[in-house]
Amino acid sequence: MTPSSSTTADGALPVPGDHHDEHHHDHPSYLVDGTTVRSWLLTVDHKRIGLMYLVWILLFFLVGGIFAMAIRLEMLTPGPTIMDAMTYNRTFTLHGIIMIFLFMIPAIPAVFGNFVLPLMLGAKDVAFPKLNLASLYIYLAGAFLALWGMINGGLDTGWTFYAPYSTHTTTTVAPVLFGAFIIGFSSIATGLNFIVTVHTMRAPGITWFKMPLFVWAIYATSCIQVLATPVIGLLLVIVTGERIFGFGLFDPARGGDPVLFQHLFWFYSHPAVYIMVLPAFGVMSEIVATYSRKNVFGYRAVAYSSLGIAFVGFFVWGHHMFVSGQSTFDAGMFGVLTMLVGVFTAIKVFNWVGTVYKGAVDFKTPFAYFCGFLFFTVFGGMTGIAVAAVSLDVHWHDTYFVVAHFHFIMVGATIMAFLAAIHYWFPKMFGRTYHEGWGLVSAALIILGFNATFIPQFLLGNYGMPRRYFEYPERYQALNVASTAGASLLAFGFVIIAIYLTYALFYGKVSGQNPWRSKGYEWLSASPPPTHNFVGPQPTYPEEPHLYVDPKKAEVPDAA
């Protein structure tokens, strides 16, 4: 710490910039309210914490993306292309671990949940601000431990750490496992904080059924985080114990049961899929209302279906083990229960489409992502129903079909929502707008690139190409080349976004409080908001969220 920053904290000798702000604007925005490094690193402001999460999560997304490109380059030719087989095993493992534990699970809840959830509830902060800050540092501690393990050897188990291989491989398993274990605490802390915030911090007038749908989605997500994460925590402890003490609990050679590992693993890791995708659904419920200028069709149905997915999500884990020696009866049960998730998701999809119907659609970048999202959710969801059918899954299990399926529903939907959220809330976070033309161009590139990457993989899987294989027969090459080309397009789209958003951060047009004329509660405060979110008395909330009276006439969005 510099001497000047420590005196600022004591309030004795503020730096000149701060002093100036204090006097001329009573309530400076959260971005300039304290400009020292210390005021950022030790902040308890949910908005600053959300922003710091954003920086780190984007960094890890970049690392995971580089691994993804490495995988696609390796798959360009049937034989070895740019790396050897062992490096390839490590590459896809690290791609999975980084993208799942470091990017997708915290992406929307920790960044946008942190930033807008208290604003949406009319609260000054989350219930436990210090715990919120702690969750960031716990996340970073776990992330860096995992990265350290990856740099010092890396592991080749796949992100699923299946025993008994993970208890026997000589690669660096323990630090990465322990890193994931630590990140679990961060996830629990965030979820717990949001649940308590929703229960206790709602402003007067915001009843349960006047909460914005994003809040409902985050609430459902938080319930999963709190209830499922401890189980994988225990499992990671046991696997570490296996490696150190040789428990043999999952080792069939010593009477252990490897399928038990899979049960415990998927009891967390399947609900974890909904930790990734439910917040995406929440973001899209906000965006579809704002850009269709219409109240969400079937508000309660959308809210309840979030809870429904969270609940049913706990009873479907067995569909990962159709070929692991599970009984036929169990497999059938898990298959049927899995299809219930499809029912709840379909309820949402129909309601979103019903919202757009007869709305006054304002086709901005977030809405473009909504369109992509709808496609990925429907297509990914339908293939999900297909793989939930036991007879079909026996053919598709562990092929590229499954890889393409979960990239569509889990990654496609989440990435669409993450990008839509960045664009939608960019003015809220920074008070500036991005360049709409480039936004639409890159959205088109990303949606096309994503399809071009994964549609060939559906076909590859259906032709029988197994996932995680280093080499493949000649006849699969054309589709693999197509997939790699698609991935390059995708990467190009992300580069464009990075450039114009960075530009907008510094030179973007100043946006004003509510550039989208959204009716969302979070836009009731200034953009960017002051440190305690609201100046003066708390706003009152007489209307439902997303209440647009007459989409066509009364509130035509400005043409600019």
């Binding site: 629990i188 649940i195 114990g241 003490f245 040789g246």
Partner: protein
């Protein structure tokens, strides 16, 4: 609870954080947060119980034989010690509500004493197991050679070790509360949430043991 946050006549009031509407809401939030945290602990140990159930189903004979090798007397004494420590922890909350800070500190001191007693007895049990070779996995060299014995002791050490770790964490929390009750004796009818939450955690640690004891010792 009395909503007398502003009158503050006899009992001092804890600090109200700026982002909460009232002290009542703040306490509600803290309590809800603690319950949620306890639910994560329950799920953590639920995993242990699943592990136990599956393995006992796989090795019914070994689980009976192995459990006979545990010291039932020490296990029972430990159970009594831990349940009694929960009583003193509950009494600490009672005295905190009445504002008797000295008694709160004494009750926590008694709880901590019993916690140490529990850990010492547990350590003797562990030491005995080490000598007999009743160890997890391939370290096992006990006299009874039966498929599933190493498996039982893997579960045994995992479950009791995880529990002992929670005892240590709980002791840390209670020590902090005890020192607080001595240094700033301002507990009272409006200011006992921290004591209550610490005590709740201790009850959970106790409750887990109440499940572990019959599962491991009384097969």
């Amino acid at each position: 609870m009395q909503p007398s946050a502003h009158t503050a006549g006899t009992a001092p009031v804890p600090r109200l954080a700026a982002h909460f509407a009232s002290l009542e809401v703040q306490n509600h939030a803290a309590r809800l947060g603690m319950w949620l945290f306890l639910s994560t602990e329950v799920l953590l140990f639920a995993g242990v119980f699943v592990l136990y159930a599956v393995n006992r189903y796989l090795f019914p004979q070994a689980y009976v034989e192995a459990s006979k090798l545990l010291d039932l007397t020490l296990g029972t004494v430990n159970t009594v010690v831990l349940i009694t420590s929960s009583l003193t922890a509950a009494l600490a909350v009672h005295y905190a509500k009445e504002g008797q800070n000295r008694k709160v500190a004494i009750m926590f001191a008694l709880t901590l004493l019993m916690a140490v007693g529990f850990l010492v007895i547990k350590a003797f049990e562990y030491q005995h197991k080490f000598h007999e070779g009743l160890l997890p996995g391939h370290h096992y060299f006990g006299s009874v050679q039966l498929a599933g014995m190493p498996n039982y002791f893997a579960v045994y050490f995992l479950a009791t070790g995880l529990h002992a770790f929670h005892v240590c964490v709980g002791m840390g929390v209670l020590t902090w509360l005890m020192i607080r009750a001595i240094r700033t004796p301002n507990l009272g009818p409006n200011n006992y949430t921290a004591v209550e939450l610490g005590s709740m955690y201790w009850h959970l640690v106790d409750l887990v043991w109440i499940f572990l004891y019959p599962l491991l010792y009384l097969v």
